[in-house]
Symmetry: C5
Subunit: 369 residues, 5 copies
């Protein structure tokens, strides 16, 4: 018995659910339980206010949300950015700015589908910032709510530790930057552009994963590859689920006839639309490549196995005639031809060698190797 017991084989089965990321399925399948809302209150909240026009900009870190209220009636554009969601804060500022209660509910909800809405003179966008977690190799989402009103923009982010809008802050400080020269809707454009551009970074990372995986599938094709294929398919579902509705969202903004949207800004939104369309197309290409990779995996595993089985079966088959010859001359008959001949044994062994060689020649000729 030459087959060793390998403990890692058993362990492999124990680790499999983890490898195949079943708990990731749980996260993906998790649905918005609107009946009983249960968003946890953020532990940390960071709120900033920017009050700007072409001439000047004032930045203020808000200790309490209420400090922002004073800036509402300046002639300048106010941007209130709140990192970390607490029910009390959200309701306080939204009520002050006259936001509809349904929108407040949406801001506080979890796992919402990206959507765009115009209610009572306020344009509301809800979408997800995507991040690629290089360690877990998963796509993570952060819900971003943007409220565009007359001369104000209010943004809510889930996570105080990550700041999605950092590049906009930098631009705000440059007096001659577009965002300073233009109306509040240009701020909305800048945000959407930033978020959509970030999708490409996430896709770039996923693309690298796919490429590395393809090389692995071609080279090795083991259970781990299958697990990785399954994992990546799930991440692509997350990706598509976020990109597809954003396409509609931006499309709706372009078609919108809201007074909040300046005609001059439309071409900027069209540019974002082109990008999101391209992101959508690419995500379809990814899916196609994943499908063809799974086909390749199955082909490769079968090819590998079939080669082994073929050789084994051929070896067994080639040795069978030798066994028969051995059996023939091992029979206990009194009269066995060549039994008493000096070269009898060698003659029999020769047959044992020659017959498989002939068989091998035929097999070769038929192209069975």
């Amino acid at each position: 018995m030459n087959v060793k017991l390998k403990p890692e084989k058993y362990l492999r089965y124990l680790y499999l659910p983890n490898l195949f990321g079943t708990n990731r399925t749980k996260e993906i399948l998790h649905v918005n339980p609107t009946v009983i809302p249960f968003r946890e209150e953020a532990k940390e909240v960071a709120a900033f206010l920017y009050d700007y026009d072409a001439l000047s900009v004032s930045e203020k870190k808000l200790a309490a949300i209420e400090e922002a209220f004073a800036f509402r009636d300046t002639n300048r554009i106010s941007w209130v950015n709140i990192d970390g969601l607490r029910k009390k804060d959200v309701e306080s500022i939204c009520n002050y700015y006259g936001i509809h209660s349904l929108i407040i509910e949406d801001i506080l909800s979890v796992d919402q589908r990206p959507k765009m809405d115009e209610v009572e003179g306020v344009l509301f966008c809800l979408l997800n910032m995507l991040y690629f977690n290089a360690k877990k190799k998963t796509v993570e989402t952060e819900q971003i709510s943007i409220l565009l009103g007359k001369d104000f923009v209010i943004t809510f982010q889930e996570d105080a530790s990550r700041d999605a809008f950092d590049p906009i802050r930098s631009k705000l400080k440059i007096a001659k930057s577009q965002v300073r020269q233009r109306t509040a809707d240009y701020m909305l454009y800048s945000m959407l552009d930033l978020i959509v551009d970030n999708y490409f970074l996430v896709m770039e990372s996923l693309g690298e994963q796919i490429e590395a995986l393809e090389e692995e599938v071609v080279r090795r094709s083991n259970t781990k590859s299958l697990a990785r294929i399954n994992q990546l398919r799930k991440e692509l579902i997350v990706l598509k689920r976020n990109i597809a509705p954003v396409r509609d969202l931006v499309g709706n903004i372009i078609r919108s006839e809201s007074e909040l949207l300046d005609d001059r800004t439309t071409k900027y939104f069209k540019d974002v639309y082109d990008h999101i369309i391209q992101a959508f197309d690419l995500s379809e290409n990814y899916r196609d490549i994943m499908m063809s990779m799974q086909d390749l995996y199955v082909s490769n595993v079968n090819l590998r196995l079939n080669e082994v089985m073929k050789v084994m079966t051929i070896v067994t088959c080639l040795l069978a005639p030798a066994t028969v010859v051995g059996g023939i001359f091992g029979m206990n008959f009194d009269v066995i031809p060549y039994a008493h001949h000096e070269w009898g044994f060698y003659f029999a062994v020769s047959i044992m060698l020659i017959v498989p060689l002939i068989m091998l020649y035929i097999f070769k000729k038929r192209g069975w190797f």
Copy 2:
């Protein structure tokens, strides 16, 4: 002969149809035999009337349907809720409120597709409440008919033992609740919202089933897993069959220009629409994950089998040369080399051991394990 007869193996085949839920197929495939309507009369009927406005609400348990008629011409909004369907009751109240006979037929029909209709100043919605039966692990439906007229809402439910609209009853008792402050169409919204939100609860339960199943498929992949995959696929058909037409239903309400629908309520229906779209998207994701799970199942079963077959074939192949050597020295020739040698036997046995070891080395090197 080391193979035991296992009675549970035979039994397994007997239980299979049950395992694969073929009788569930029967229920799913069951069609609406409109030619011969045969809804069974409800054994139990529970009818309630709520007559409310912003100031007050009166609740009345109806012993007979006719008791509701008196409230029709109050200036307040009447909600008549009937749990359990009897032909006589439905016809009596519908005729009194002037409902078209086709709608009466729809209310009394079984296995109807969700639909929305406006006939003669009455807006009619028919859809299904979904429940997840944790014991049978199936999605159950209860047909709900909602009639919205000028200052009245009449609802019909199939099953007197379950009450879908309980949360609305609670809200009705609170004077400052939205439902008390607004017109009858807000009541319709509340009901649709409740029903659609319930879909998420059912999907949550199904999601848990899928996740548990995926872990099982990854770990064990036996016939039971296959049966579960088949069962869940059927439940997803039921889910999709109920969600897809409700999307149209809500969409039609939004587009409707009925006088019964207040403009202020439209944004609420839009909110329901967002939810039903999200439910639909999620049900598509579920389907994708089920498909990839079935692929995984097949891959896993094959992988498992292939591993067994490979080892078996390799063991058989490795032992074949030993058989041949045994055959060679077992031949009855007078002259057999080393036959009379003291170490002859051990020499032969050594060959028997060495040849498979060399083969094993080659196989290993080729990566066949």
Copy 3:
């Protein structure tokens, strides 16, 4: 040699084409050879005339088609129903009522796609009545042509032996029935409603077939099941081919602005439309279930085979070491250990038993059974 020759095995192959219903394929693939029309003249023709209004109804069996002409100009609605198509009859009555020659061609054609047309003040519907032939287990079609004009309805059926419109006849005799109270378009509605409702009966029968088949597939999964799956898939093609265009047909009637259609009847046609949509959805569900059944069949056949192959390979593998041991001690060396020992034989046999038992233990532990 324990393998018996079983004549029924050969016969099976002979019966296969019949089993797989290849002649059914012929019927399905048969196309409308409009170039050379070749409808056979009906052997038997049964023509009836009903002349009715709210007050009275007169029924007349027509010996010759021409007898119907006299009723054209009564103020009452005339319904001429002709069972069995003969070129001469069709042309005679159509010309009298001023029907366009293209419609006459359509009525006389075979295997037409359901269609609806309005030509010169006449509304023309062509669709198929479906019957489920319980013996052949196939869906049979009967082409129905309905002509709706001002105060007249003319219907043509292919087959004099079956009468699709019997329930309408019964209703005509009841003075207070809707069909008597209303205009001719209500008669058209009644007919479409009857035909569409009949689709559900056919689907119910097909559903029973599918359910029975699923149970069979789960239990046995033999060639016969595969043949049945193939057969049923073909019947579903027939079903879908008939239902999908009828959806368009009814939709066109609803959108039509013909003067022949009373506004009051529209909601009835909408009801038919709801039913045909439901029928279409169901036929899609059927197709999904058939697909998942075919997957199940393949899985089951492979599972069954794999189990057999696995056991066989394991048994062969377990017996191989015994053969080797037998070969070892069967070698003709002078010096064989334990050869002269009293318990030598039993010792060897014990090894033959112990080695497979150890192997079996390892296999079990690895979960290979």
Copy 4:
């Protein structure tokens, strides 16, 4: 060694590319190299002119294209039909009738997609006549260009040896035929009707091929069947590629508001539209049946192989215990039980027989045959 070398086996591989019709792929994949037009000049050109109205018709075989020019300004309708395309001829007549140069390019192009265009008062249709080549079993195309102008129709066909429009010629000679009574657009209708009806004839032939193939697949399922399935799938691609754009073509004619199209002719074009829709539906059905046939082929090949493998493996497995028993009593121990017993040999042989019989009984009981 009982395996014969069969030369036809090698030959089969040589013939395979031919069998699978790879050169057919070349033809299908061949694209329109618009950059360098290279239509070969027709060897033979046959041009006819028909000048007709309700009263009379004059037919003229044209020796030179220019002879047709004189008939342009008669008050009668002129139909110029040119079989065989030469650049000089096409340009000559088109320039005389004032046809746009882009249309001339289209007429002279090869492998064009069917299209319809209205340019400067001329309606241009380009589509393919389909023929089924019974010998090669392929669908052949002949490009037909139809130009409809005020009182003239000019048609171009690729192949002078086949005449697609023969039936129209016959009808032209009958004074009371519709084509003589009506305007030039009725001539266009007649041609489209003829071409579309011809599609049904081609589909009928393909249907017969499919049916014959299905019977073959069910009965034999060899490599030839697979090759035929592949071939037929390619022909279906050709078919669909021709039918799908013709649907748009006819649809465009119906929607067209060209002055060349008489309102009275619209219902005739609608009739052609119904036919082309039916042809399209049927081609989809064909595709479905081909897909299910390929599934069937794979199932059947596997079934056949599995049966062989199963029996072989079972026979090998059943004989293994006998080999072991033979090995046991063949060992050279001094003490072998029953070795000296008179019935010892028969006892051992009995075991050899009984053990496989018991195994066979167990296998049977488990339903492994």
Copy 5:
């Protein structure tokens, strides 16, 4: 042991990733990282200016982009063609001609999706020229940007070494050519026509690859074929990704109501539209054929393997009875029938031959070869 160690087998695995073109995947999956633009500055720039009208044309090689500025206000049409992109050049000329900054960004971006835009009186088209690299057997792209303004056309190409617009240059030199007679939009048409026609040349080359591959798959079906199938599928993704958005691009031009587009040119754009539709249809056909080729590959590999396995298993099975007979007469019983008979040995050997022959006869009869 007759199995040779073949070094090329190991090497094959090393070369596999290269064979399957995983680095090609990298290129395809590469996304537009709009956040950090990083187009490399062209090493070489070649700029030409053509200033033409119906009467004369002047050609000028530009040493510096600024030399073109002088020609802006001639009454003639100016075409500035810039091969090789440098940020400074692009911005310089675009700013001079008043092009919007978003368009400048698009021109300088990489891996853009083909798009068309009208901004401030300038029509902007971005699409890719495709080339088939015969050596690497890949589809290569070169980004082309075309700006159409009042009396000027500016084109940007990525690669100075290839000149896509050579044929247009030739036509410009011919005074009576269409491009000289017409407005600037005809120049745009000529460019789009050239680019789209080039797609057909690329598809022609891909078609030849597919055809050669199909022949290879049918004949040999080895790992290399699978790798080629995977490679070609990727090239088809590249092809489709470029063709599909160009369809929208041309469609948008046709629907555009820009003053830059002359009504007389519309029919030319329609012609380009017909070509791009045909290209799209063909790319779908290619995909279908690739899918059916992959099916064929899998079928063929399995067929080949199954044949080998079948023969091997049958040979092993046929030799098993001989082994048993050898074992029977090799047993060491005192009483062995015919043991002492003169023809005993030959009798036993005859059984060894006859039993397999009978088995062979049965197998043949059952059609197992």
